[in-house]
Subunit: 111 residues, 2 copies
């Protein structure tokens, strides 16, 4: 079984401060941007993101994202899955995920 093993806040309890602090970090924002670009919201492995940091630090960053309520972490024991909480984010902060696609000045919309 693999539900929301590692839990974050409920959709209505998402805190804007925590969310913005989470997105303020470059690496975490890169993860979120990738997740937001995938409209299928497929579950992804932790190492499918090409982060130039140690795995301990990655663990830290994913924890911050989860505690901010931005992702779910599914624990499989010796493996972990990441899934974007798109619906909850859109409900609480509509348009936020779209902004993550506006990184490049001039070429915004990912579609």
């Amino acid at each position: 079984m693999a539900g929301r093993n590692l839990v974050g806040p409920e959709a209505d309890a998402l805190d804007l401060g925590a969310v913005l602090r989470a997105l303020a970090d470059e690496h975490r924002r890169a993860v979120m941007t990738e997740l937001a670009a995938d409209r299928g919201d497929s579950e992804r492995g932790c190492n499918s993101f090409d982060l130039p940091i140690s795995k301990q630090t990655q663990t830290h960053h994913f924890r911050v994202l989860r505690e901010a309520g931005l992702i779910d972490e599914i624990d499989y024991g010796n493996r972990k899955g990441i899934r974007l909480r798109r619906a909850d984010i859109e409900k609480r902060f509509p348009g936020l995920l779209t902004l993550l696609g506006a990184e490049s000045p001039g070429g915004p919309a990912p579609r």
Copy 2:
């Protein structure tokens, strides 16, 4: 005369990272939330925000907001004016200012 004496980045050069880092701070976000709530975008004095911090720290925060491209600071010599760069922000990151009004869970739109 009083144009954009203290300058920030151009509208197209607004950096999402800098913007999010600026908004991650509670005091700076409070300022931005107040500014975003005023649809008239009237110029405001620096001390019209009731910030519980020293004036040196306020100077620091306003500088961060300006360098992120979120506000203009108009220097009058011994006084200073603050104005929201609403149009530039909306052009580069549409919907961002609206999100600032979604602080309270359940009662979002300030209108």
